[in-house]
Subunit: 311 residues, 2 copies
């Protein structure tokens, strides 16, 4: 059970490690959907993604003795960078297990912050096994990407900042992958702005979250064939329970619109967003009639794209 | 003579037409140059560039009768969009004279705001002649891109916003093309923060401003073979006199580093900036020793890049 005070403590705990990212209004979307849209720009975080928040909230709750043994994680991307960045800031070692087929830029970015990268087979079993063996060898603390209350509370600080700036929002929209951000967002709205609806946006081609939300039973075995690489994971247990209770709806994004919308947002807003960030826009645009006259915040989760290998 | 009160009046006059753009700190540049860097994000203006400010300050000083005849301008890009946008907002017509070889996206963007586009030969004479003949036919008001006190005062509001947010800046850096922005920036610093230095950054391949600044005589015939399409123009008469008096220095950017730095900024800051905006970074990086320990704001002037025809 994550209480309001846990979110508030997370916000102060991580305050010097995260940037208070800007919330930018956008004329293009306002006119397109006949509503008021604000973009919460988490791509401006030090590691180019919101993941720094959960990782910071986790790392800063370890004892000094635990932290000094280093941090271990497995991730295909932004979470790895976030863990490496926190280790760099706290002057401890970090070990990042990544599948061999990871995006080149993401590997380099984790290395940039001094992480030792351990490549493994691109299966979830290999990742978990390798991570556990590294943790057992080093005695380092495993920092999970989403399925932990400390991570969820950390990610909730995105919505807390949004709600502090715009108090009368009708809706906050977050993409849904492992569920850390969406569950945190829904908790923040629940505690600090109960009239604000929280909407998840998920690729149709990785719709385990949607399926679980509709049936009430967490889906484990849905195929994830989406370009939105940050959203290929299955929703975690802890996030799932929170999402079931506090998220208002989950909308789907048609796969073949995702990359077009990514470029559209680049072009119109002059922000580089990852394919995962295009998912909310595709989902919202498909149901734009429901947006008319509303005041909406969309969380831009990150901007880590390999500019050399664009889709 | 542009007085402090003219800048202050410009700021209130245009306040509902421009966005108060965010001033974003940047870890990457801080670490690279060992200083404190803030980016003033004018690419987030409605037309994707700061030019909206000067155009608004001009358009809003015309009498209703004048304005109703429409606005006329010649421009290869962002100023055209700004004029078209203001005409759209004020519900009057706009006529934009553009050289035939203009960037496709910039033409489309001016059309988006309802401008009538008149293509002409890509020579300055053809542009001026066509513009004057349109203005004489329509009785519309010519809105110049930079060589006018109203335009300079409008562009000065960028630096006014920066200085209101960060009062103890050592330096503000703006790119130098026609000189509207740089002269306005230097006036704002002169009146509201005299200890802040103002630095212009110009492509070495279009260094008429630098040459004029060094000799004290405005240079008219320097070749402009730069990828920084927004900076190919010659400095105007009115901006030149202000720059001579109030700008502290002009630094040059080596041509073959401009596009690499544009991508570097895209990659590191997740912002889409135009080639012209890369010019300050190239110039600053070449003299990074001088930046150590300083608090610096760089004006990101715009983000209008044709993503289909990238350099």
């Amino acid at each position: 059970m994550i209480a309001a005070i846990d979110l508030q403590r997370a916000a102060s705990r991580i305050s010097t490690f995260r940037v208070h990212s800007p919330l930018i209004s956008d004329t293009f979307l306002d006119e397109l959907w006949d509503c008021e849209v604000y973009l919460k720009c988490e791509q401006f975080q030090p590691v180019g993604a919101f993941k720094i928040r959960g990782a910071a909230n986790f790392a800063l709750q370890l004892t000094t003795e635990q932290a000094q043994k280093g941090f271990v994680t497995h991730s295909s991307g932004n979470h790895a960078q976030a863990v490496a960045y926190m280790a760099h800031k706290l002057k401890v070692k970090s070990y990042v297990v990544m599948p061999r087929n990871s995006n080149e830029q993401k590997i380099e970015n984790a290395q940039k912050w001094g992480a030792e990268i351990i490549l493994c087979e691109p299966t979830i079993d290999a990742r978990i096994q390798t991570t556990e063996s590294i943790a057992s060898d080093t005695q380092g603390a495993i920092i999970p990407p989403f399925d932990h209350e400390w991570i969820v509370a950390g990610q909730a600080t995105v919505a807390m900042e949004i709600l502090a700036e715009q108090s009368d929002l009708d809706m906050i929209v977050a993409p849904l992958g492992g569920g850390g951000l969406l569950s945190g967002t829904s908790l923040a709205a629940h505690y600090f702005s109960p009239t604000t609806q929280v909407l998840g946006a998920e690729p149709e081609a990785a719709a385990d979250g949607f399926k679980g939300f509709m049936t009430g039973v967490r889906a484990l075995s849905v195929q994830a064939n989406t370009i939105a690489d940050g959203l290929r994971t299955t929703v975690g247990e802890i996030p799932f329970e929170i999402i079931k209770e506090h998220v208002d709806d989950i909308w789907l994004a048609e796969e073949d619109q995702i990359s077009a919308w990514m470029y559209r947002i680049w072009n119109e807003t002059k922000m580089i967003i990852e394919p995962s960030c295009a998912v909310p826009f595709v989902a919202l645009n498909a149901q734009k009639k429901k947006l008319r006259g509303k005041k909406i915040a969309v969380i831009i989760t990150g901007g880590n794209v390999d500019l050399n290998t664009l889709p």
